[in-house]
C-alpha cells in the first residue's frame, strides 16, 4: 500500500455539506447523475442564523437553538469537486434562511476496504 500522503500531495477532496433534511433525496439524485458514487449522511443539529425561534411547552416559552439538518460527506476526485459543490449548492437552495453550508477539505488518501484500491479508484 502506498505511504499515507503528506499534506503536500493533495489527491482527492472531502465535501462536507449541511442541508435541509427534505432536500436530501433531491441532492442525492443530482449528485448520482453527476457521477458521484457514494456518500455518508448524518442527521445533525444545526446552529446558525436560522436558529432561535421560540416554542411554548406547558405555558413556558423557550428558545429552540438547534434545527435538524442533514450533513453530507462526499469524497470526490479533484476533477469532480467543483461540479459537485455547484450541484449541491444549486439543488439544496431554497433561498430561505437555513439552506446550509458547503465546506471543501483536502484528503491525503482514500481507500476502498473491499479491494484495497486507493484514491481516485477508491471512489
Amino acid at each position: 500500500m502506498r505511504r499515507a500522503g503528506s499534506a503536500r500531495e493533495t489527491v482527492v477532496k472531502l465535501i462536507i455539506a449541511a442541508i435541509k433534511p427534505f432536500k436530501l433525496e433531491e441532492v442525492r439524485e443530482a449528485l448520482t447523475t453527476l457521477g458521484v458514487r457514494g456518500m455518508m449522511v448524518t442527521e445533525i443539529k444545526g446552529f446558525g442564523s436560522q436558529s432561535g425561534h421560540t416554542e411554548i411547552y406547558r405555558g413556558a416559552e423557550y428558545a429552540v437553538n438547534f434545527v435538524p439538518k442533514m450533513r453530507l460527506e462526499i469524497v470526490v476526485t479533484d476533477a469532480l469537486a467543483e461540479a459537485a459543490v455547484e450541484t449541491i449548492a444549486a439543488t439544496a437552495k431554497t433561498g430561505k434562511i437555513g439552506d446550509g453550508k458547503i465546506f471543501v477539505l483536502d484528503v491525503a488518501q482514500a481507500l476502498r476496504v473491499r479491494t484495497g484500491e486507493i484514491n481516485d479508484d477508491a471512489l
Binding site: R58, G59, Y62
Partner: protein, 437 residues
C-alpha cells in the same frame, strides 16, 4: 379446573332457582336461596378493582412518557415498585387502620392496628365478599402513591421515594381515609366525597406538594434570571396511552364506589356514574384544548391530557348526583384549572414534572367544593373543613417524613448523576439503550 367445573355445575344448579321438582324439598329444607345481591356486589368490587389496578399502569405510562428518556427506567421502576409496596402495606397495616369497624384506637381518628384477613366463609350479611372489598380498597391506596411519583420525577433517588411510599400507603392514606370512609369524624361531620377527590387525589397531591418543595426543582428547570426552562417529555405516545388507561380505569374508580349492584337502583346509579365520569373527562379535555389554543395559539397535547384527568378528578367527589350537563361544566372547570395552574406552579418555582398537583390537588379541591351544587345535605362549609383538615394533616405528616429522609439518607442524587440521568447513574440501565437520546 374442568373437574372442578362439574361440581360447580351442580352447585350452580342447586343454587339456581328451583325446577318444579326440587322446589318443595328446597322449601322443605328451607334451603336459603342464593343472595344474588351478594354476588352482584362482589362482582362490582372485582371489576372495579381490576379497572383501578389498571390505573397503576396508566400512571406508569403517563409518567414514563413525560420524563426525559434518561430517567424513564427509573420512573417505570418507581411505579411498579410503589404498587407492590402498597399491596403489601395495605394488607399489613392499612386496611384495618382505614376500616376499624368498632375497633378504633382513637374513636373516629385512629383506626385499628391489625393485619387484614380475607379467608373464611362469605359473610352474607355484609352484602359482599371481604376479599373483594380488600382488593378494591387496596387499589385506591396504590393510586394515592402513584400520584406522588410523577411530581417528584427525575430528581429523587429510588429508595427514599420507596420508603416514603411505605409510610404513605401503610399509614398516612389509611388514617385520613378512615376519617370519612372508615366512618370516622369527618363522615360524622357530614363531609361528602363519593370516590375520593379529596381522600385519594388531593391527598396524593398534598404528599407530592410537600415533596416537591422540600426536594426542590430539577437542575436547570429555573434559571437564575427566573426563566422557566421546559424539559419536554420523551414519549407523548406513552403519555397519551397512559391517559386513556387512566380514563378507562376511572369507570371502575367512580362506578364501583357505589359499592353495590344488587338492586335496580344501584345498577342505575352505577350507570349514571359511568356516563357522568366519561362526560367530565371529555369536557376537561375540550376545555383544556380550547384554552391552550386561545392562550398560546396552538393546542398543547400534554395540557389536553392533563385536562381530561383534571375533569375526572373533579367529578370524583360527586359522580352520581349531577346531570350530564353538571358533569360537563364541573369537568370543564377542572380542565381549565389544569391549564391555568401548571404555569402558576412554575412561577412559584415548584417543579411538578407531570402536572400532578394541578390535576389531583387543585382539581380535587374544586371537585370537593362542587359537591353541594348537586348533592343534598352537602354544605360548602363542611366540604371546606374536610379538605383543609386533610390538607393540613397530609402536608404536615408528609413534610415530616420527607425531612427525616432528607436528613438521614438524603433525597437527591449528586448533580452529576442527575445530569447524567438516574437510569445510568442509579440503575445502570437505559430504557431505550439503542436510540440516540
Amino acid at each position: 379446573m374442568k373437574t372442578g367445573m362439574k361440581i360447580a355445575g351442580l352447585s350452580a344448579l342447586i343454587a339456581g332457582t328451583a325446577l318444579p321438582l326440587m322446589a318443595q324439598e328446597a322449601a322443605a329444607e328451607a334451603a336459603p336461596a342464593v343472595n344474588n345481591a351478594f354476588i352482584f356486589n362482589t362482582l362490582l368490587f372485582l371489576i372495579g378493582g381490576f379497572l383501578v389496578f389498571w390505573m397503576a399502569a396508566g400512571f406508569a405510562m403517563l409518567e414514563a412518557g413525560l420524563v426525559r428518556s434518561k430517567n424513564v427506567t427509573m420512573q417505570l421502576t418507581k411505579n411498579i415498585a410503589l404498587f407492590a409496596i402498597a399491596a403489601i402495606m395495605y394488607w399489613l397495616v392499612g386496611y384495618n387502620l382505614m376500616y376499624p369497624g368498632d375497633g378504633w384506637s382513637m374513636a373516629g381518628i385512629l383506626g385499628a392496628f391489625s393485619i387484614a384477613s380475607i379467608q373464611g366463609d362469605p359473610a352474607i350479611e355484609a352484602g359482599y365478599a371481604t376479599g373483594s372489598d380488600f382488593f378494591f380498597q387496596l387499589m385506591f391506596c396504590a393510586t394515592t402513591a402513584s400520584i406522588v411519583s410523577g411530581t417528584l420525577a427525575e430528581r429523587i433517588k429510588l429508595w427514599p421515594f420507596l420508603i416514603f411510599t411505605v409510610v404513605l400507603t401503610g399509614f398516612l392514606y389509611p388514617i385520613e381515609a378512615s376519617w370519612q370512609w372508615g366512618g370516622g369524624w369527618l363522615s360524622e361531620a357530614g363531609f361528602s366525597d363519593f370516590a375520593g377527590s379529596t381522600l385519594v387525589h388531593a391527598t396524593g397531591g398534598f404528599a407530592a406538594l410537600a415533596g416537591a418543595i422540600i426536594l426542590g426543582p430539577r437542575l436547570g428547570k429555573f434559571s437564575k434570571d427566573g426563566r422557566v426552562n421546559p424539559m419536554p417529555g420523551s414519549n407523548l405516545a406513552l403519555a397519551t396511552l397512559g391517559t386513556f388507561i387512566l380514563w378507562l380505569g376511572w369507570f371502575g374508580f367512580n362506578g364501583a364506589s357505589q359499592l353495590a349492584l344488587g338492586t335496580e337502583a344501584d345498577a342505575n346509579a352505577v350507570a349514571i356514574i359511568f356516563a357522568n365520569t366519561n362526560m367530565a373527562a371529555a369536557a376537561g379535555a375540550i376545555a383544556a384544548m380550547l384554552l391552550t389554543q386561545a392562550l398560546y395559539k396552538k393546542v398543547d397535547l400534554t395540557m389536553l391530557l392533563n385536562g381530561a384527568l383534571a375533569g375526572l378528578v373533579a367529578i370524583t367527589a360527586g359522580p352520581l348526583d349531577p346531570s350530564l350537563f353538571g358533569a360537563l361544566w364541573i369537568g370543564a372547570i377542572g380542565g381549565i384549572i389544569a391549564v391555568v395552574v401548571v404555569p402558576m406552579l412554575d412561577k412559584m418555582k415548584i417543579d411538578d414534572v407531570v402536572g400532578a398537583i394541578p390535576v389531583h390537588l387543585v382539581a380535587g379541591f374544586w371537585g370537593t367544593m362542587a359537591v353541594p351544587f348537586y348533592t343534598e345535605g352537602a354544605s360548602f362549609g363542611t366540604q371546606l373543613l374536610g379538605f383543609v383538615a386533610i390538607g393540613i394533616f397530609m402536608l404536615v405528616a408528609s413534610s415530616v417524613v420527607w425531612f427525616i429522609l432528607k436528613a438521614t439518607m438524603g433525597l437527591r442524587p449528586s448533580e452529576e448523576d442527575e445530569v447524567l440521568g438516574l437510569d445510568k447513574a442509579e440503575l445502570g440501565l437505559e430504557a431505550y439503550p439503542e436510540f440516540k437520546a
